[in-house]
């Protein structure tokens, strides 16, 4: 009995220590990475002196337009592309200096999924998933066990014996994910993993990636040109342009305060054009009846999401939502809402005071000049 408790305490201490040290460490360190292609006489710098640190257990997004060098960059991480200069360190291995044999071993710890899935058409679902295990020299019975686990994990139970040609795009990517996870990697590289899928399937694959990230503590590097993908699953994001990272930070921070023009363009993809909204709102306020309009700015809210219903319950007022856009990110809700408070001016003032003092929602009273 006592020993049980003792053991439990020990295990807990061990786990805490383990996770704490993990939490603080960078799994991927990229230092002045450069890749030049020579096309005839000309030289093209696809990745230009890029430095970056990606932390253990996070989902790190890299967004950029076509030709920005995203694919080249992610292929440099597992050395499918040989860098011209600079270094990549994953875990305790400096990928850029490994011998061929060590590189092959290191690659078994780095999963990768692709835009076009890249499954072997000649193998069934289970044999595709078993392939990396064969490469790693895992015995047959253990292989079968592991394959079944993975099939269940990605939700393809019952489809083990199907060939890729008999699967939908989303199912193919699930096979791709299972295959990438087979050897229990620490890092998963995704190059446009959802770009060939329709929006609904994209979401289901993104949900799967998040659940894997949470369940296995896997670090995910996600390349995309869709801000929706970043918004939905990433913790941090870097914006890439012409081979360099021009802006990076927490997804919410980048969403709420985009600095570079490219970044603003990407934010527009999901939030719509905020300047236009503003103009529309101003017009609305010219209207006589529009008094007591508040602009509520949610940044990473998780606790205040029920604010509107709280206000209606706590104070004797009606709330009229005029306009707004709230979007969910991994770090909570983000967006702006315009609401009009209707009722006794005294109650309204109390409600405004409550929002200001009791919640972390940023608030602005929109004045209309009458």
């Amino acid at each position: 009995m006592y020993t049980d408790v003792f053991l439990f305490a020990c295990r807990k201490a061990f786990f805490n220590g383990y996770f704490l040290t993990e939490e603080a460490s960078d799994v991927i360190k990229i230092d002045s990475l450069t890749k030049e292609f020579s096309i005839g006489e000309k030289k093209l710098t696809a990745v230009n002196d890029l430095s970056l640190e990606i932390q253990s257990g996070e989902i790190f997004g890299i967004i950029g337009y076509s030709g920005a060098g995203k694919s080249t960059f992610i292929r440099l991480l597992n050395r499918l592309e040989t860098p011209s200069s600079g270094s990549v360190t994953i875990g305790d291995k400096q990928i850029t200096t490994l011998s061929k044999k060590d590189l092959r071993n290191a690659r078994q710890d780095i999963g990768m999924i692709f835009q076009h899935f890249n499954l072997l058409w000649s193998r069934t679902v289970q044999d595709n998933i078993a392939f990396p295990l064969e490469i790693a020299g895992v015995g047959k019975s253990e292989r079968q066990k592991r394959v079944q686990e993975l099939v269940d994990l990605v939700g393809l139970t019952g489809r083990e014996k199907a060939y890729p040609s008999q699967l939908s795009g989303g199912q193919k990517q699930r096979v791709g994910i299972a295959r990438a996870l087979a050897n229990r990697p620490n890092v998963l590289l995704c190059d446009e993993a959802t770009s060939a899928l329709d929006p609904e399937t994209t979401n289901s694959i993104l949900d799967l990636l998040v659940s894997i990230n949470k369940k296995l503590g896997l670090t995910i590097v996600m390349i995309t040109h869709e801000m929706h993908v970043i918004r939905k699953i990433c913790d941090r994001v870097a914006v890439m342009e012409k081979g360099s990272i021009v802006e990076q930070g927490d997804v919410l921070e980048v969403f709420s305060h985009p600095k570079m023009p490219v970044t603003k363009k990407f934010v527009k993809q999901v939030m719509g054009d905020t300047d236009e909204d503003e103009a529309e709102m101003n017009q609305l306020f010219q209207n006589e009846n529009n008094r007591n309009v508040l602009r509520l700015h949610f940044i990473g809210e998780t606790t205040n999401q029920a604010l509107i219903s709280q206000l209606a319950k706590k104070f004797d007022i009606d709330l009229n939502i005029l306009q707004g856009k709230i979007t969910q990110t991994q770090r909570g809700a983000y967006g702006t809402l315009f609401v009009q408070l209707i009722g006794d001016q005294h109650e309204i003032d109390k409600a405004v005071q409550y929002i200001d003092e009791q919640t972390s929602v940023e608030m602005e009273v929109v004045e209309n000049e009458r």
Partner: protein
């Protein structure tokens, strides 16, 4: 009926000739398959951006393939007489035809193999690399299985060319249906024999084509 229309036909001889044709075709086909795949792989792997990219080896293999593909088969047999004599100890009979058959057909097949390998999705090869696969794994578990339908239809086409070659080889003494048709039919004005041999060869071609198509279809899960 047989006595009227096929007065010269000897069934035992026809059977023997058919057997020899099958014998030469199948043995040379096996040799062609192995050597053709080796040469085809070498062409593919040493090509530009290939896994073993190597200009010199690629050039040498390509030159070998092109030269032997350019020589008409009937001349190739004559050219290889000394080599065959050295290797087999004779220039007569079905065995003597094998070196020429293989050397004549393998380069042709090698090109078909190369085309088949080029059709393999680059992304799949890259995925295997990303999993840490060795080159031998990539060859045996990715390139060959993924190109198998093309390799099989290639070997079918080659088999049919080979059946034609065995007939030519027969004319200069290798045995088989070509030999039978020429010496026992054509030279003795026994055209019924020539006719029966033609039919026999057509049937053999159809059999190979049918088997080849069937296997290629079975293998193709795309």
């Amino acid at each position: 009926m047989k006595d009227e229309f096929f007065a010269n036909l000897d069934l035992a001889e026809l059977y023997q000739a058919t057997y020899e044709t099958f014998y030469m075709t199948i043995l040379s086909l096996i040799g062609t398959f192995i050597i053709g795949i080796l040469l085809g792989l070498l062409l593919y792997l040493t090509a530009k951006d290939g896994i073993w990219q190597n200009k010199v080896i690629n050039w040498i293999v390509a030159a070998f393939v092109n030269i032997f593909r350019a020589i008409p088969f009937i001349i190739l047999i004559l050219l290889l007489f000394p080599f065959t004599n050295f290797l087999i100890g004779t220039v007569r009979g079905p065995n003597a035809a094998l070196p020429a058959l293989i050397i004549g057909a393998a380069p042709f097949y090698a090109r078909l193999v190369e085309i088949g390998l080029k059709e393999v999705d680059k992304g799949v090869v890259e995925a295997a690399k990303a999993m840490g696969a060795k080159t031998s794994t990539i060859i045996f578990k990715v390139l060959l299985p993924e190109s198998m339908p093309a390799l099989v239809s290639g070997i079918t086409v080659t088999a049919i060319a080979l059946i034609g070659y065995t007939a030519m080889a027969g004319v200069i003494g290798a045995g088989g249906l070509g030999n039978y048709a020429y010496y026992f039919g054509f030279q003795r004005r026994a055209f019924d024999i020539v006719f029966v041999c033609s039919v026999a060869i057509i049937v053999i071609v159809f059999i190979f084509q049918f088997i080849g198509d069937y296997i290629a279809n079975k293998l193709d899960k795309r």
